[in-house]
């Protein structure tokens, strides 16, 4: 069902349309009608949850309340196929004297974490939510402090004590509990896992995350659009280009800026290079986790070839300081772009050797095939994005769905796979690296000379927008809103890892403990962009 049809269907529930710009419709509904509205959108009209963001707008004269923005991907009005998506946002008001909102987790499981986070950060209680353990805060955090409320000063000093949030336990004769983390054995990020096992097999996994919560969203409030970009780049070290472009897209939508074509083309080239590096790193990680060092060393060589070339051309191995709202910080010469695309082509050629290594080793295939299966129904239900979804045969690619930058003019295919296991996720990655090289080739042929940035002028106050970008890990959605002095009022980052975390707990069930690292790696969940 298309967006305009959904709006006609919901005309009794929708009080007013706040604005319809840049393919996003913001419609306000009554708090008590939320259940009905969400059921219509998800169950009847085939919409999927993109993100939920709350904002403290109590100081604003026209609202004087909290607002919760429920964003859904729905079929676009203009497109002929169902592939093109637009954003439909349902806005509800929650008042200070009655800080309760209806939980929609029962009808839309993907909303689970968002609602728990809204309680932790804003103190608004999702009524009838089944799992109200704290998500973002650990036990030391005071129960009456809500950091994203405007009356909480970012620099407030709290008094930490130590404790670990209780995990779900499997009881009976035989099952035992295996605690792991937060400090792990390898060079990886911190998180605490409780495995409930029976023999070698995992029955349940409960994860305590948000160890690396740095308070980036709070930090960004009050910053101007240029400075916040540096924090957006550092939400995740390995998809900083994707985060930066997502953030910039949101700013550009609000400002109504049109970015020069050259900047958009170079952005696509850099985003695809980042995807190639990310995917090769993941394949390397999968090979390391099953102790296949010949393949992992070769993958590491390919990765370093690419990263070194990127460093030669843009002087940053992680695409820092290239992008900014309005375009690029500095132009990249045609020769530089050509060098990058040549390296991409070479790496793509060498990929055949890597693929040969991986697929000719039966002991390697034995470890990855049928391991960590994530069923298609689970993917649909919990709203998995990116590689995790595509390897379970669910189409979910923001490049196709939202066509940001110049992706609409490029010819590439969305790789999906049907076997749903670690091997499928690896195969999707191999396919996507090849597609990326193809995209870079095409973008290079479309590269024209011209300016690379345009000026961001006065930003309309309190007008929200989403910046959506397909990163190597999946789709990032940045929600952004400015206040009346051109500073950020609310910035909510929904990274791919945040949407995909629950998928891991489903995929792990029934597998053996030694396979956990490789399953974890195959989703490539990033703690820092999840915790922010």
């Amino acid at each position: 069902m298309k967006k305009k049809d959904i709006l006609t269907l919901l005309k009794n529930q929708i009080k007013s349309i706040m604005h319809t710009d840049y393919g996003e419709t913001y419609a306000e509904a009554e708090r008590d009608d939320l259940h009905e509205v969400v059921t219509e959108i998800t169950a009847m009209a085939g919409g999927t949850l993109l993100s939920i963001a709350a904002a403290d707008e109590r100081k604003l004269p026209e609202s004087e309340c909290f607002k919760i923005y429920y964003a859904f991907r729905v079929a676009a009005d203009s497109a002929s196929s169902n592939e093109k998506k637009e954003v439909l946002v349902i806005v509800i008001r929650v008042f200070d004297d009655d800080p309760i909102f209806p939980s929609i987790t029962g009808i839309c499981v993907a909303a689970n974490w968002y609602e728990r986070e809204i309680f932790d950060m804003f103190g608004l209680y999702p009524e009838h939510h089944l799992d109200m353990r704290r998500l973002c805060h650990h036990k030391h955090f005071p129960t009456d402090v809500f950091p994203l409320r405007k009356d909480f000063a970012a620099s407030s000093e709290l008094f930490p004590s130590s404790d670990i949030t209780e995990a779900r336990k499997v009881q009976g004769i035989g099952p035992y509990e295996l605690p792991v983390g937060p400090i792990h054995a390898g060079i990886i990020e911190p998180g605490h896992f409780r495995f409930s096992c029976y023999g070698e097999h995992i029955i349940n996994l409960d994860a305590q995350l948000f160890y690396t919560h740095r308070g980036i969203e709070k930090m960004c409030e009050g910053l101007d659009h240029f400075k916040a970009n540096f924090l957006a780049e550092r939400i995740c070290g390995v998809c900083s280009m994707a985060h930066s472009v997502a953030y910039s897209n949101a700013v550009e939508k609000i400002a109504g800026t049109s970015v020069p074509v050259r900047a958009r083309t170079i952005r696509v080239i850099l985003l695809e290079l980042e995807r190639m590096i990310g995917h090769i790193t993941d394949i390397m990680g999968i090979a390391v986790d099953v102790a296949f060092y010949a393949a992992s060393s070769f993958a590491a060589k390919l990765r370093e070839d690419l990263m070194n070339e990127v460093y030669e051309v843009i002087r940053s191995r992680y695409f820092h300081s290239v992008n900014m709202p309005g375009g690029l910080r500095r132009d990249i010469s045609d020769a530089g772009v050509k060098k990058l695309s040549e390296m991409a082509r070479r790496v793509c050629r060498d990929l055949d050797i890597l693929e040969d290594l991986l697929y000719s080793s039966t002991s390697f295939l034995e470890r990855v095939e049928t391991t960590g299966r994530l069923f298609t129904e689970t993917v649909m239900e919990i709203g998995v994005v990116g590689i995790g979804a595509r390897a379970s045969n669910v189409k979910c690619d923001a490049r196709k769905a939202f066509g940001y930058e110049i992706y609409d003019n490029l010819d590439f295919s969305e790789i999906t796979h049907a076997t749903q296991d670690v091997a499928a996720r690896m195969a999707v990655r191999l396919g996507e690296i090849r597609q990326s090289a193809k995209i870079i080739e095409q973008a290079l042929s479309q590269l024209k000379s011209g300016p690379v940035s345009s000026v961001i002028g006065k930003l309309p106050p309190y007008k929200p927008a989403f910046g959506i970008v397909e990163a190597p890990k999946g789709e990032h959605a940045h929600f952004l809103m400015f206040d009346d002095s051109n500073r950020i009022q609310r910035y909510r980052v929904r990274s791919a890892s945040y949407a995909n975390w629950l998928a891991l707990t489903f995929a792990i069930k029934g597998n053996i403990v030694p396979d956990f690292p490789v399953i974890n790696k195959s989703f490539n969940l990033c703690y820092s962009s999840c915790d922010r």
Binding site: H138, H140, F141, V145, P147, F152, S155, S156, E157, L158, P160, S162, P182, I183, A185, G186, I187, I188, E189, P190, F210, Y211, T212, H213, R214, G215, K218, M219, F226, F230, L231, R234, I235, C236, G237, V238, A294, S297, F298, A300, K301, R303, E304, M307, Y311, R315, S316, R317, Y318, H320, S321, R329, R330, I353, D356, L357, S360, S361, C526, S528
Partner: protein, 246 residues
């Protein structure tokens, strides 16, 4: 099996011979920045001080200096300087590059640590960039382990704790317990500017803004993230520090 061997032989040895141009990380001034003091100050406004997103530029008598403890290498100052006094360098190699031979590091490890030096990495809220550079330092190009330096699983086996990230409140306990488990003499090194000074993150309800706010830090490895060369050389300063303690 034969195809694997064939590929290994075909790829050959890709390891870099030297451990890169040596940076001198002793001063406050960032080794990545070449500041032309002749030109600096001619603009009279010091726009760079205000516009640095990490607050890394300090005004002093000689002009301005870029603090290595805070510089995130965003190069805003280079863009904004009206007289062109700031220039960013590759790997931080200045006019006086001292090419360091790889043997120097190897000898250091062999002589003082019996050929094996162990590092325990500790992520305290990093963006994952520094972790990836640590992994890169172990790849066939940089090959940190050829010097006898290894990342180990347990802090009980470590000579050095390598901290990344601005130290979040939620990981405070993990940091203190890990340090308690590390035998002395040990070196605590901070990798990346956010572990050193918190920049560009401000200290707030969720993070401490640098490891030094909680525990004493012996060695800084600045950068955002530091290049694998910088990490390899940082290891050399870690060893010097540890030799002093022994």
């Amino acid at each position: 099996m034969i195809s694997i061997l064939k590929n290994i032989l075909h790829t050959g040895n890709v390891t870099e011979r030297s451990s890169g141009p040596e940076n001198i990380f002793t001063g406050d001034q960032s080794p990545l920045v070449s500041m032309d003091q002749e030109k600096c100050g001619k603009c009279g406004q010091h726009e760079c001080v205000k516009s640095c997103p990490a607050g890394a530029i300090e005004l002093n008598k000689a002009g301005v200096s870029v603090l290595s403890k805070k510089c995130i290498e965003c190069r805003v100052c280079e863009d904004i300087c009206p007289v062109g006094a700031v220039e960013f360098l590759k790997y931080g190699a200045g006019a006086a590059i001292i090419k360091m031979e790889a043997e120097k590091l190897e000898n250091e490890v062999r002589k003082n640590f019996g050929g094996s030096f162990h590092v325990r990495q500790l992520d305290l809220g990093s963006c994952n960039g520094c972790e990836h550079e640590m992994v890169s330092a172990g790849n066939p190009f940089f090959d940190l382990s050829r010097f006898g330096i290894d990342f180990v699983a347990s802090p009980r086996h470590a000579d050095c704790i390598l901290i990344t990230g601005p130290v979040t409140w939620n990981l405070r306990e993990a940091l203190l317990r890990t340090l308690e488990a590390t035998p002395k003499p040990r070196v605590v090194a901070a990798m990346g500017v956010c572990a050193i000074s918190g920049a560009p993150f401000d200290r707030n309800y969720a993070n401490y803004g640098g490891a030094e706010k909680l525990v004493p830090v012996d060695v800084y490895i600045p950068g955002c993230p530091p290049h694998p060369y910088a990490l390899i050389q940082g290891m050399l300063s870690v060893m010097r520090e540890l030799r002093k303690k022994k």
